[in-house]
Amino acid sequence: MVRSSFRFLPDIALADIAFLAKGETLETLFEASARALTEVMVDRRSVSAGTLKILEIKSDTVDGLLYDLLSELIVLKDVDSLLFKTFAVSISKDKTRLTCRAKGGTIDRERNRLRNDVKAVTMHLFGVKKTKGGFEATVVLDI
């Protein structure tokens, strides 16, 4: 089992919400980041996983792939009223293309325990770093 995790950073950008995500691989880092973003918007345990959405993203940088993936999840929340429970990410060998299989459901105001309406992913402190144990990313979300 390849491990990944995230934790919120309470002392950064007071009006907004920051998190640090970690993964042994880039793929698990991206999955952890997508889970962290979603947890800001909703308690994922209350989200159904009946709808599969496949996201295809291209970028010339790894940072760009992560930024665009998270931004796309925010767009899907607003445009298609979709929130996701699980994420499975694969990244091409040259690290310029990403596929994310996200399972979730349409926002249900009775069932979903909703939290914050995330506006956007900021570039403040944003970036993917290689670490001893794999990769980590700092993300500040505009609330």
Binding site: F8, L9, P10, D11, I12, A13, L14, A15, D16, I17, M41, V42, G64, Y67, D68, S71, I74, V75, K77, D78, V79, S81, L83, I107, R109, R113, L114, R115, N116, D117, K119, A120, V121, T122, M123, H124, L125, F126, G127, V140, D142, I143
Partner: protein, 485 residues
């Protein structure tokens, strides 16, 4: 040594950080604060206000207002002006929520009339103005209509039965900024925004019923100029912005400019400060798209006003006209605008960035609506939902010192995560109701994050700006009902 100790005192409430503080600073940074507020400012403010001082073409100073706190790129509460010929424009100096702002609506209702009906009013507003994660508004518009809103803002609303003819004249820029070009807005932003008009959003956005509070402050003479003639007069305050439409425009252009910065090997201390020369094609494109978002935000607050009129009419069985439900003023506090200011004795066109800061134009300025021109522009300072808000007045001193700018709110002292650890939403809701503030919130977590304890003392922020002379106190406003996003 704490970060704030690098600041040298210029006057009672003005502090300056010299250009020697950091390599690359082109101008000093100036902060408006009492000693207490300065000491309480987080380290991010100093870092960010001095980062902004390094940007090309910045004029005079990089400013942090008394409500400044750690944001992204610019500090929240940051003001900076750049030459239109040689300076830059930065999406990070505007923020994702383009033209997030405040609208203050007066009524001729008295507290004694509203108090027994406050639950009914707030419950109805909660239903009419959707708030929270991913909400959509009831207003159905077409793509061509959205294009018109991007260009005409409040004017479009008035022409489409969503307002009265005189509303626009009481909105900054007359309810729309010229130069919005829908062709510069990506279709994804349009998809995000088309169903969100008339919605509140979440975070610190709110729709609040308030009462004039003479116990805290009231200049009856000045207040009467804005139609506040009773000590217990009821007003309604709206705080929101351009919703997903503006957020996406900022996201899109930030990606473009971030790429361009890498391509041209231009280094900034914070990627959120990605910029482009204002006169470049990219700068003009971003400006045109940002103006579209600003006009969308004006329209959004206008539609919420329309719902407020509907709600009050329904509750009191009277026409809104008879209750004098009129706009006192509507101000942007996340914006970049071309304005003419005097610099070193001559008039210059500048692109003024206000991120969590409010325009504060003084008496006689042609951009101040005619009914207020003799006294100055109304400035609306939104406080936390527990502690209240203020109506202030723009001044000539602000024109001379801060490019006609002042603070925008209380300013946070505690992160959202920390606030949630300290406060439980349901308990806060009950406690506020006991204190005479009836709250409906989209989520209890969101309510806890916006607790008064997470914010600076708004009265000290307002007092600081008053002592500095860049905005003057007119009236304190006490919350009695709140719809929380």
């Amino acid at each position: 040594m704490s970060e704030t100790q690098v600041a040298k005192q210029v006057s009672d409430v003005v502090w300056e950080i010299p250009t020697s503080y950091k390599d690359g600073m082109k101008v000093p940074a100036r902060m408006y604060a009492t000693r207490k507020l300065l000491d309480a400012m987080d380290k991010g403010v100093i870092e960010q206000v001095t980062n902004v001082a390094c940007l090309p073409g910045i004029v005079n100073y990089s400013f942090a207002m008394a409500d400044a706190h750690w944001g992204y790129g610019f500090p929240i509460g940051g003001v900076a002006a750049f030459d239109v010929e040689n300076g830059i424009i930065s999406p990070g100096g505007v923020g994702f929520d383009v033209n997030c702002g405040m609208r203050l609506i007066r009524t001729n209702l008295r507290y004694s009339e509203v108090k027994p009906r406050i639950k009914e009013i707030v419950d109805l507003l909660f239903r009419l103005v959707p708030a929270g994660v991913g909400v959509k508004g009831p207003l159905k518009i077409t793509q061509p209509q959205l294009d018109e809103i991007m260009q005409w803002g409040v004017k479009w609303c008035a022409e489409n039965d969503l307002g009265w003819g005189e509303d626009a004249s009481h909105v900054e820029e007359g309810g729309f900024i010229k130069g919005g070009n829908p062709a510069k807005v990506d279709p994804q932003a349009k998809s995000r925004g088309i169903s969100q008009l008339g919605t509140l959003g979440s975070g610190n956005h709110y729709l609040e019923v308030q009462v004039v509070d003479p116990a805290r402050f009231l200049d009856r003479n000045l207040a009467s100029k804005f139609g506040l003639v009773h000590d217990d007069q009821v007003v309604v305050m709206v705080h929101c912005g351009s919703r997903g439409f503006g957020h996406q425009i900022c996201t899109d252009y930030l990606r473009v400019l971030d790429g361009a910065m890498r391509k041209y090997k231009i280094q900034v201390r914070d990627r959120e400060l990605a910029y482009t020369p204002f006169s470049s094609n990219e700068g003009q494109d971003y400006y045109s798209a940002m103006v579209c978002a600003a006009n969308f935000a004006f329209a959004n607050r206008q539609i919420i006003l329309h719902r407020v009129r509907e709600a009050l009419s329904q509750v009191f069985h009277k026409e809104a006209e008879k209750m004098d439900v009129n706009v006192i003023y509507d101000v942007c506090h996340n914006i970049a605008k071309v304005e003419r200011h005097r610099v070193d004795g001559s008039s210059r066109d500048l692109i003024v960035h206000r991120k969590g800061a409010t325009r504060s134009f003084g008496p006689g300025h042609s951009d101040v609506p005619a009914p207020y021109r003799a006294v100055g522009q109304p400035v609306i300072i939104g406080g936390s939902m527990e502690t209240g808000s203020y109506l202030l007045l723009g001044t000539e001193k602000a024109m001379q010192e801060t490019f006609g700018s002042t603070a925008h709110g209380s300013g946070r002292t505690m992160s959202r995560t920390a606030a949630k650890r300290q406060v439980r939403g349901a308990e806060l809701q009950k406690s506020m109701e006991k204190r005479g503030i009836y709250v409906r919130a989209a989520t209890m977590d969101g309510l806890a994050e916006e607790a008064g304890v997470a914010y600076k003392d708004i009265s000290e922020v307002v007092e600081t700006m008053h002592i500095a002379g860049i905005s003057l106190k007119v009236a304190a406003l006490r919350p009695i009902g709140n719809v929380k996003g």
